[in-house]
């Protein structure tokens, strides 16, 4: 169960559109995971944890959206920063392979568009930081294998990040 949301008036259309965008990205992410598994037999992120450590692939926090104390402005801000981070990570994976590029590009565009939706809502609520966040340094992938393994890990992290986001959005949409 999620804690009480504070008083920010989130419009219903924002919650409905954001929920749909999350589902769209999750569907796109699942397609990428299926292709990475089918094409390169890289099917289990847990087999790539050590590599993830050595490459320094970050995960985006959503602590302000946690069930204990939902802090809406912080949650929106973390949601945007997380989407911005995953957009950067997906861009760093560009050129993984011709088979994956279309799906990867689509996923990256959908994440970028969802980040814009959140940012513009923060602007409308006048809770947006003065300046858009700048991208932190991205891990460097030095081989096709690292880009594919990075793809598996980044998509896996993104899916769990979106799972949390979706629960908050559903909770906020409840009448």
């Amino acid at each position: 169960p999620l804690g009480p949301a504070n008083s920010l008036p989130l419009p219903r259309s924002f919650l409905l559109k954001s929920s749909e965008q999350v589902r769209k990205i999750q569907a796109q992410g699942a397609m990428l995971q299926e292709k990475l598994c089918a094409t390169y037999k890289l099917c289990h992120p847990e087999e790539l944890a050590l590599l993830g450590h050595s490459l320094g692939i970050p995960r985006a926090p959503l602590s302000s959206c946690s069930s204990q104390a939902l802090q809406l402005t912080g949650c929106l801000s973390q949601l945007h920063r997380g989407l911005f981070l995953y957009q950067g990570l997906l861009q760093a994976l560009a050129g993984t392979s011709p088979e994956l590029s279309p799906t990867l590009d689509m996923l990256q565009l959908d994440v970028a568009n969802f980040a814009t939706t959140v940012w513009q809502q923060m602007e409308d609520l006048e809770v947006a930081p003065a300046v858009q966040p700048t991208q932190s340094t991205m891990p460097t992938f030095t081989s096709d294998f690292q880009r594919r393994a990075g793809g598996v890990l980044v998509t896996s992290h993104l899916q769990s990040f979106l799972g949390l986001a979706y629960r908050v959005l559903r909770y906020l949409a409840e009448p």
């Binding site: 559109k17 769209k24 689509m106 565009l109 959908d110 568009n113």
Partner: protein, 308 residues
């Protein structure tokens, strides 16, 4: 150059005037001193100009005005009588037509398989002139009063009246402004502007229906019932949708009866109240809901026999 034609404009309004002048240089050898310049329009007979004069530098200049140029395309020849045959010394291509009319009926559809936004319009009557149509757009917000980034012009392939904006130029879930510009040598016209979010104009394909074997159900089937299942069009699974079912007896031509609203997917659905052992035709369509969208077309028919 022996002869040289200058025309008021290579492209004019159909039925409007055209003025041309032709100068014959003195060094155009083998000529008598006062050569008579003749004009020929297309295959019409030669005619003298309205005025011919000798310029200070000795060149001869003839001027002609065609008051009502009624050809969409024709060649204007500047000739000289030489021996028994008029000699062509220069030729100019004249074209005439109309300025473009305002493109109308602009409408757009987002295609979830190609991930592109395809807009089509009515180009209006033929202008008889090469007319370029360009789909223009820019990203916006709210009710489209502000202009954010502009989007690359979409140029339709050879003369088509539709154009597809690729996914990478689209900002989904935000409003954008779209219009069509028509341009030819005689003018430019803009269509009215649309303000839309591509995801609000998704073209939904119908859901997939399938029959269920009543005997395979847990509870014994009631008589006069239909058992079916359905699921939404796969690329649209992420969209919340609402669906509508319609049914009619296969024979007897009774009109459709509609059942709505229905969820976007159901893996076991029982519809009762029918006469037993009768074949019914069923169709279904869906629409994005509660967010805006267009109805899909009706699904292909499913023939089902009501339980005994």
């Amino acid at each position: 150059k022996c002869g040289h034609i200058r025309i008021s404009a290579p492209i004019v309004h159909l039925g409007g005037p055209v003025t041309a002048s032709c100068t014959i240089s003195q060094n155009c050898s083998h000529l008598d001193l006062e050569p008579q310049i003749l004009w020929r329009l297309g295959e019409e007979p030669e005619q003298p100009g309205d005025r011919q004069q000798r310029l200070p530098d000795g060149t001869q200049e003839s001027t002609i005005t065609l008051l009502h140029f009624n050809h969409t395309q024709a060649f204007l020849f500047c000739c000289l009588q030489w021996g028994n045959r008029p000699q062509i010394l220069d030729q100019a291509e004249l074209r005439a037509g109309y300025p473009p009319t305002v493109p109308s009926n602009l409408s757009c559809i987002m295609n979830l398989t190609t991930n592109s936004l395809t807009c089509q319009w009515d180009p209006g009557p033929d202008t008889h002139l090469p007319t370029n149509f360009t789909l223009k757009s820019f990203k916006s917000r709210g009710d489209c009063q502000t202009q954010e980034d502009s989007i690359l012009d979409c140029v339709p392939e050879n003369g088509q009246s539709y154009c597809s904006i690729p996914r990478k130029h689209l900002l989904l879930y935000q409003n954008m402004v779209i219009w069509v510009q028509a341009e030819n040598a005689l003018g430019t016209r803009q269509s009215t502007q649309l303000c839309l979010d591509p995801m609000d104009v998704v073209k939904l394909e119908p859901p997939t229906l399938w029959t269920l074997d009543p005997s395979s159900q847990a509870s014994p089937p009631h008589p006069g019932c239909l058992w079916l299942g359905w699921e939404p069009w796969k690329p649209s699974v992420f969209m919340n949708q609402e669906c509508e079912l319609r049914h009619q007896p296969q024979r007897g031509g009774a009109s459709w009866v509609q059942v709505a609203p229905l969820p976007s997917s159901a893996y076991q659905y029982e519809l009762c109240g029918f006469p037993p052992a009768t074949v019914y035709t069923l169709q279904m369509r869906c629409i994005r809901s509660p967010l805006p969208g267009h109805w899909s077309s009706w699904s292909p028919s499913l023939e089902l026999r009501t339980t005994e």
